[in-house]
Symmetry: D2
Amino acid sequence: MIIVMKRDAGQDQIDHIVEKITEWGLTANVSRGEETNVIGVIGDESVIRTKPLEVFPGVESVMPVLKPYKLASTEFHPDPTVITIPAVKDGEKDVVLGGSDVVVIAGPCSVESREVLLETAHDVKKRGATILRGGAFKPRTSPYAFQGLGVEGLRLLAEAREEAGIPIITEVMDTRDVEMVAEFADVLQVGARNMQNFNLLKAIGRSGIPVMIKRGLSSTLKELLMSAEYVMSQGNGNVLLCERGIRTFETMTRNTVDISAVPAIKGESHLPVAVDPSHGTGHRDYIVPVARAAVAAGADAIMVEVHPRPEEALCDGPQALLPEEFGGTVNELRAVAKAVGRGL
Amino acid sequence: MIIVMKRDAGQDQIDHIVEKITEWGLTANVSRGEETNVIGVIGDESVIRTKPLEVFPGVESVMPVLKPYKLASTEFHPDPTVITIPAVKDGEKDVVLGGSDVVVIAGPCSVESREVLLETAHDVKKRGATILRGGAFKPRTSPYAFQGLGVEGLRLLAEAREEAGIPIITEVMDTRDVEMVAEFADVLQVGARNMQNFNLLKAIGRSGIPVMIKRGLSSTLKELLMSAEYVMSQGNGNVLLCERGIRTFETMTRNTVDISAVPAIKGESHLPVAVDPSHGTGHRDYIVPVARAAVAAGADAIMVEVHPRPEEALCDGPQALLPEEFGGTVNELRAVAKAVGRGL
Amino acid sequence: MIIVMKRDAGQDQIDHIVEKITEWGLTANVSRGEETNVIGVIGDESVIRTKPLEVFPGVESVMPVLKPYKLASTEFHPDPTVITIPAVKDGEKDVVLGGSDVVVIAGPCSVESREVLLETAHDVKKRGATILRGGAFKPRTSPYAFQGLGVEGLRLLAEAREEAGIPIITEVMDTRDVEMVAEFADVLQVGARNMQNFNLLKAIGRSGIPVMIKRGLSSTLKELLMSAEYVMSQGNGNVLLCERGIRTFETMTRNTVDISAVPAIKGESHLPVAVDPSHGTGHRDYIVPVARAAVAAGADAIMVEVHPRPEEALCDGPQALLPEEFGGTVNELRAVAKAVGRGL
Amino acid sequence: MIIVMKRDAGQDQIDHIVEKITEWGLTANVSRGEETNVIGVIGDESVIRTKPLEVFPGVESVMPVLKPYKLASTEFHPDPTVITIPAVKDGEKDVVLGGSDVVVIAGPCSVESREVLLETAHDVKKRGATILRGGAFKPRTSPYAFQGLGVEGLRLLAEAREEAGIPIITEVMDTRDVEMVAEFADVLQVGARNMQNFNLLKAIGRSGIPVMIKRGLSSTLKELLMSAEYVMSQGNGNVLLCERGIRTFETMTRNTVDISAVPAIKGESHLPVAVDPSHGTGHRDYIVPVARAAVAAGADAIMVEVHPRPEEALCDGPQALLPEEFGGTVNELRAVAKAVGRGL
């Protein structure tokens, strides 16, 4: 922690701060500059991070030096985290997130009917997806929009999982539902609007189930890593981070996929990274180029929406690929993965 | 709903859409322009709002005409909502939010100790506050930061409420806690990070307790009104909206108070509006000018943090006023309120 | 300047940086922490600010300690700058920006016709404005929109200035036009889109004419102060800064007025501050509450658009007040000014 | 143009608008809905776009239907624009922007010395670049930072161009310099801060020289296309658009590369698209993944900074690749280009 003093700060103000720092069990190092003085604090920064140092008389600004995340950081855990989702059926391969192969997650935005879900599950598996997505609980901006099938949706997901032999990921929105959803899902999903629902993160941390945390609409990567830290601090290290587009001023796309989030997260953290070009662009024509870009940038997983009849979708039809488009997309992604030295 | 067709859209594509609209029980009105064709949809827009019209062949864009909120809108409820919080002690006045007087809400960021809370409660009441604020559950970006005293904090708030004879507002973060917090609080608070925690909003809607919803960090006012709509759709009309600063690129302040949110909400909605200059600026020196601005712009309530010893605050010390500064602030706000024809 | 080293940085990397710092004529102070090392640089920070320190092996991050602006800063010039615009006619009062009175600047968005301009000039002066605004050169997003009357517009402004006896402010967009516009205008205006047109700022700096710089659409206050610094570095200290709303995600208003910009600029700089609620909100109904807020927050000047027949305006009609509305607005602003101890 | 009326708008207000629309030579089509009325305007939308319709009594909102750009739009010019830069030396190939091959533009941020520039020019050409970049005029946030060598820099670029036989791109910042810079440069560059310097765009439009326009820091793609429209409206169709990262809340990168800008521009416009991962990320480690992503997304050109001794760079050293890194980067980009069916 570095404390920059105001130009007109007096010696008594410096002394007062040094005294407090010493009281807290840390060491202060005063640097006298030509224009201003600076106090460096040596010792465990977490002790001092919560102290209201800006409020002390004479202080101009306070700059943390260390990163606020530990468990999520490469500094403390240099090897990449690999999350293994066991195969649903004997004789099939486990799904490995963070390994040499890029994983494709596909399925409808929401679970709408048994028929559509089963058809899609078989279809996407056949064409190269290894995890099925589908929302039973849907966070919708309007109370009058379709809110998901709830528990019935979870049961349909379980059926599709067994029938098609493909693990599932589905969103949990409420602390009261974590245990129940955990009984059905291979991977839990925390939606963008819940990225800082800290009690939900803690509950998922205690469940031990693998979780994909979506980046909040206007969240920084540091905040995303802090949300991972919440889960990890409860003992659950199986965290996949998902770039799903952030809110910007651009209106041609629904959100703006921050492609440099992929190398930036990989520079700071050992956790695997997914990209969701469907929510990220909100526009069917842009999904494939952005999915290719995500693989080229080093993403470990790509999540896309697939729906056999988008005109009938109850949620986000405009950003769903048709199953046959999805098949072509997988082939394109495979070519790019190969060009950057990975499988798919 | 207006559907703008692509320039090269064919008649068959127009016919297909008109047919669907008719199927949904609505009426289509095709307008043929020189450069493009437009289909107007007449009837209940909520029926069509969830249909994936962008996905239909030949569609360029879809523009909703009506507002997505009903209960929160002045169009359906022209008279201002007035929320009355009954006096804690006999012989004192009820607190009225949305009436002719501006209400001042004050207290520490978090409940930290019995002593500080009681001292502050008496102090702010004496100097003009009519609601006491204080967080028992604190949403913190880091799992390692002080998370609030929890139930113990609620008990201290109840004690301060009785002792000082002042109603309290406190945050609820978890659907599991709504009933319990509702037993202690006069007004529930939904924090900025939970503005789109839709299950929490529904649970509060069912509780019937007055609630203040803080605007999300990067939320639009339309989204804030939709969150109010969630609460109101469950039968709870006692909603106070709070502008607490939005995230912008500016770094001299913690957030950017959107002062035009006050007249804009009042133009669209009948709900009362509060402004929180403490979180909004994050900087003690800017609280008073921004609080004055909020009263001048027409805010119904001002919420400020007050702490007797900010150097010891466990949370947000840099944005707390001292009790004696708070007294001066109330006087300044009273002068501005008078200039714009209101009491305080 | 503080240089934070990576956790695994070696002594040779520290030595290499210390050596360079010494070469540049500065002093390095190495602080050894438990988790990382930090190098403080003592001496003239402007020498080191342009060095690519992040590129040196072992460096994690670099944090400047001093402010990048000098001439615009209160640290180097503690007394408020007062800009005096001489009266146009004998016997009238000079206009003083940054004094005890709040100045009202009013007029049409663009100069459109002799008749409208003269009518408006007389009208706004009568009702309390002391500077007339009007654009002869208009920066328009579309090449097909009205681009202003150019030199003819300047001549009309000169005529209105003489006739009504009111100083004028008008925009200059092109380095080639600075000298010419300076012959007609009492105050030059740099528009938001030109806030970082550095050659324009330098040319205006050399002209010596008072200038109002509008904050860029997504600029920080630090960047705004750096633009003032460009003008001041050429010897022109008569700089008025204008908050005119920044781009945010909000769509109910055209821009978002950053009301805390007023106290924040006044905390950092001695320059006077104006607020433009017309461009800031883009919405006639919100101009008055936001103008009142600006005065309450401490603004030195308010700039509003006034047009006698907004339905015929060639530019920004929706954000213009009618002359009679303007008269009422001035009275409301006067009441708020009085409440915060100022005249108008 | 669609005009949505307020719910309580009267027939006289509708009649007033219809009358005006007829006066302007257009046709009005009134659609009566259950909750509100809507007026569709048929005819040349550019006539009505500048009318202040929001100001007419009874109007709730106004929605344009057509796109504001014509010359830049695929609707009016369906074939892709291909820009050919003639070879500097006989026997070498022309550089084709917008063709089947991806073009690599490389060089130092600013021209600093003859030695560094010539060395870099030879080096990047040898390793696969076909256009040399280098700034002679530098737009710097601070008046105290290195502002470029100016005309001397242009002369050095001309020398490097001849010596190494590689066309050059360089920035022009001032309307007064357009003709002079056009004598030296093969491609002019408009920087992000000048994207809406409309007089500069017009002057470049008249020069007829190919130009690369960088997207403004917080500009939308629509605004970028309107800036292209300014150049094209003066008769210059040789416009290359450059995504160079936009300002977001993310701090791990200098800017956020909007990767979906590539397919979005290609969907709306026939103009070729470049991506600048150096300015876009500001971080040497992220340049290569983001450059790969840009090629995978369909970019026609990649612009990267290369400097032989970044520790000595006067500008943006932290985002420059070393020449040998650059060589490896070109090979990686070639593999990705091949995977998406292009050459490089």
